[in-house]
Amino acid sequence: MSPKRTAVADPFDDFAAFVGPGAVARLRGLGHDFLETRRAGPCVWDAAGKRYFDCFAGAGTFNLGRRPPRIVAALQRALTLTDQGNFAMISIEKARLAATLADFTPGGLDCAVFSVVRGETVEFACKLARGFTGRPELIAFAGGWHGETGFALSLSTRPDQPHFAPLTPRTRLIPFGDIDAARQAITGQTAAVFFEPVQAENHGRAFAGDFLRDLERHCRAVGALLVADETQTGFGRTGKRFAVERAGVDPDMLIVGEALGAGIFPIAATIYQQRLNAFMNDHPLIHLSTFGGSDLGCLVALEALAVYEETRPWENAEKLGVRLREGLEKIAAARPRVIESVAGVGLLLSLQLATPAKARDFCKALAKEGVLAMPGAVEKRAVVLRPCLTITAADADEIVAAVGRAAKGK
């Protein structure tokens, strides 16, 4: 048995000792080896007072900015009323959030089951799909990233899958955007088809509207459920409240991520059509989540929904997404050997570099220029730019300028 390590005061030393040197080395490589001190609006500051635009945004969590004042106040107020609650019980907070989400989301998405983290939402969606349809097969598209837990991992594109194998049987990935392949694969055996309207981690690859409408039609015809994973695209990121509205498809289930808790409280949800609840009503408490649907989290999420509704950040994302993209495309055109392409929708943008190492180096150069961004988890040559949706035109211009300086440094 190894002896306990001795105390050290530096968080980086402690982190390396107790979480692992691998994680710290990775952060050094990205230039993310600093402590976030002040957090406000679309920015964070390090201990020396240097400002960074947060273009990682917790992988789509901080849509409303860092420490949004109304959400902070909502949690402080909620603490005077309630706590996380007993998870299996009926609560005012859970019922209010579920009802409000039904109004907030498109189509007949009427029911909600809450989770605490992305991935857990996908687990429930897979179980509900199998339970409701009585069919075993779960299908997703190559290039997607749905989460870390068992079902979600099985439906994601990642090279380390063999480490954890065997994974969930009767799951398969089909080629991206190929309707003939989809028609062939999705059959009467298929419980559900999962898609991210924009594959955030895969160089912002977006499904064409025509493809999604054909996919929807085919799923309806064979009785397979259509599940939109909007963990990263939801709540305005792509310039619409939800990205499915862009294509005009009505999914049977809609998955939303931690943007629901606006970076103040971890909460996520699977929202689905009332008819699917026949299965859950017959099998209550078959899927439990101790922290999912915490009463405090529900109150935070209710305030976040109110802020989303009032400030309509999707309008800003649509407008500034165009401005940001134009700026990035100019840089790419000027330096095609550094930035090979620009992709994405709204404020979910992505730059493709020549190699994964170059993408990591570019993140480091960006950090030096005051922009926090991460490589894609699937397309590792990509650098994903997903700023908080609250940025101003001047912020967008500053981000473009920083990218320009980083590209020049190559």
């Binding site: 190894s2 968080p11 980086f12 402690d14 982190f15 107790f18 979480v19 692992g20 691998g22 994680a23 710290v24 990775r26 952060l27 976030e36 957090r39 964070v44 992988a59 969590t61 420490r67 009323l81 309630t82 706590d83 996380q84 007993n86 019980m89 009926i90 609560s91 005012i92 019922a95 209010r96 579920a98 009802a99 409000t100 989400l101 109004d103 029911c111 983290v117 992305r118 991935g119 857990e120 687990e123 199998r130 870390e148 837990t149 068992g150 079902f151 991992l153 099985s154 065997p166 931690e258 103040i264 409280f265 609840n277 009503n281 209550p284 408490l285 101790t290 922290f291 989290g297 929904l305």
Partner: protein
């Protein structure tokens, strides 16, 4: 937003009318789960929690306090809405948010260090996760990734959560059967049976996962010798030993972690629930800094990122909750109060052998097993009438669990014991009707069937409510 959704937002302490409650149930049923409402009503578990504080909450409909014996299966070790933990979170919000999940932060580093200090010998590395299931999935991924083996051995009726890998390790068909096929290469050995485990484990086993005290299975305490035997078995096979301490951790069994009773250090340990101080989700996987495990993580630092786990706000809450458990000697209190409660329950068993079959547990994780499954919902009702909120176990409805906050005082324990005595006394009144019927096998099968229980007890509940309405109207007329 439609005004109606805001209707039941009540200030603390406000009453709720029966009509408002019915509206709430309708909304919950429409937008979350109608079946759950029926199930909870049948089991007399449909109380609403307001004014949560210490070991109690107040049901605003009946306007009376309940002692929380369920505690979200072990989340409220420092009590409901612990004022010091709340103050920590309120203050933390002036500076922090969840933080960038991939980055280093002072709260994360401090909590990681503290957890390693508390962990069993040799367990000196931390991976944050978002909740119990997420932690178990990460633990199993780690075990498979690090060993290059795939077989995981769990226990019959073991319970580890509802995410893909955790569900694979779940030892009850009920949670699995509609979601199959699940992740393969999981096997199940009877709990506390070392021989069975020895027969199953081999050099192709990646890990054995157990709860040192099985929770949802109905509170079965793992014998110290069993845990020691598993340790030796794993060492022989080169398999990893995983302890799921999600329910048993943070003082619940009278020690900070339940494995301390046996002195056995696992290779991997999952924690959640009370790590969040009853307020903020947080979980972690603790593991040995060995070449196998730390070597794997250092080479694959991204093998299980958790966008919601180890949030800065969460870590500050966790640190405060841990500080209070230590400062207020809650482990010792759990041991002392647990001994009192167990003693009182054993006395009840001796007096009521036709109702209570067995009393089990360690510290303040105690279960009583009834002779018949159908007694679970009856006892929930009897306890509710005596001001106690207690739920039967998910994987064993014949077992009532008591997982009180560890802050419970001697005086509060007097109240708890008196209430349980009262509940058993009122059960006795009903049994002359139920027991003879239960002698008929078909009736017993029906009574013990969960679906039949929902129908039967739901019906009885409606009759009671109707009688209650008439009664109240009558009383109202007189006053």
């Amino acid at each position: 937003m439609p005004e109606s959704h805001n209707l039941p937002a009540k200030p603390a302490g406000a009453a709720m009318t029966r009509r408002e409650k019915a509206e709430l149930e309708a909304r919950f049923g429409r937008h979350i789960n109608e079946g759950q409402v029926k199930y909870l009503k049948a089991g007399h578990l449909d109380v609403i929690e307001t004014q949560r504080s210490g070991i109690r909450f107040v049901d605003p409909v009946q306007n009376r306090p309940f002692i929380d014996c369920f505690g979200s299966a072990g989340c409220f070790n420092v009590g409901r809405r612990n004022p010091e933990v709340m103050a920590t979170l309120v203050a933390a919000l002036d500076e922090y948010d969840m933080g960038s999940f991939h980055m280093v932060s002072a709260p994360k580093a401090r909590l990681a260090k503290k957890l390693v200090e508390l962990a069993p010998a040799g367990v000196d590395r931390v991976l944050f996760a978002a909740g119990g299931g997420d932690a178990v999935d990460a633990a199993i991924k780690l075990a498979r990734g690090a060993t290059g083996r795939s077989e995981i051995i769990s226990t019959v009726k073991g319970y580890h959560g509802h995410t893909g890998f955790a569900l694979g390790a779940n030892g009850k068909a009920h949670y699995r059967e509609y979601c199959e096929p699940l992740i393969p290469d999981f096997r199940f050995a009877p709990f506390n049976d070392l021989k069975a485990m020895e027969a199953m484990a081999s050099p192709r086993t990646a890990a054995i996962i157990i709860e040192p005290v099985q929770g949802e299975a109905g509170i079965f305490v793992g014998d110290d010798d069993y845990l020691r035997g598993l340790r030796a078995l794993c060492d022989r096979c080169g398999a990893l030993l995983i302890f799921d301490e999600i329910q048993t951790g943070f003082g619940r069994t009278g020690r900070f972690f339940a494995c301390e009773h046996s002195g056995v250090s696992p290779d991997i340990m999952t924690i959640a629930k009370s790590l969040g101080g009853g307020l903020y989700p947080n979980a972690a996987v603790l593991y040995r800094g060995s070449k196998t495990l730390a070597g794997y993580v250092d080479k694959n630092p991204d093998f299980h990122p958790s966008p919601a786990g180890g949030a800065d706000l969460a870590c500050l809450v966790s640190l405060k909750a841990i500080e209070l458990i230590e400062k207020n000697r809650l482990c010792a209190n759990a041991e002392a109060m647990g001994a009192r409660l167990k003693g009182a329950l054993r006395e009840l068993l001796e007096q009521n052998p036709k109702i209570i079959k067995e009393v089990r547990g360690r510290g303040l994780m105690i279960g009583i097993e009834y002779i018949h499954e159908f007694m679970g919902p009856m006892m929930s009702d009897a306890l509710a009438k005596n001001g106690m909120f207690a739920a039967y176990s998910g994987n064993a409805p014949q077992v009532m669990r008591f997982m009180l906050p560890l802050t419970v005082t001697d005086e509060e324990m007097d109240t708890v014991i008196a209430a349980i005595r009262g509940a058993v006394a009122s059960m006795k009144m009903l049994l002359p009707f139920a027991l003879p019927a239960a002698k008929i096998p078909a009736v017993l099968r029906a009574l013990n069937n969960e679906k039949a229980q929902i129908v039967l007890f739901g019906f009885l509940r409606r009759v009671e409510d109707a009688v209650g309405v008439v009664g109240r109207a009558f009383k109202g007329g007189r006053s």
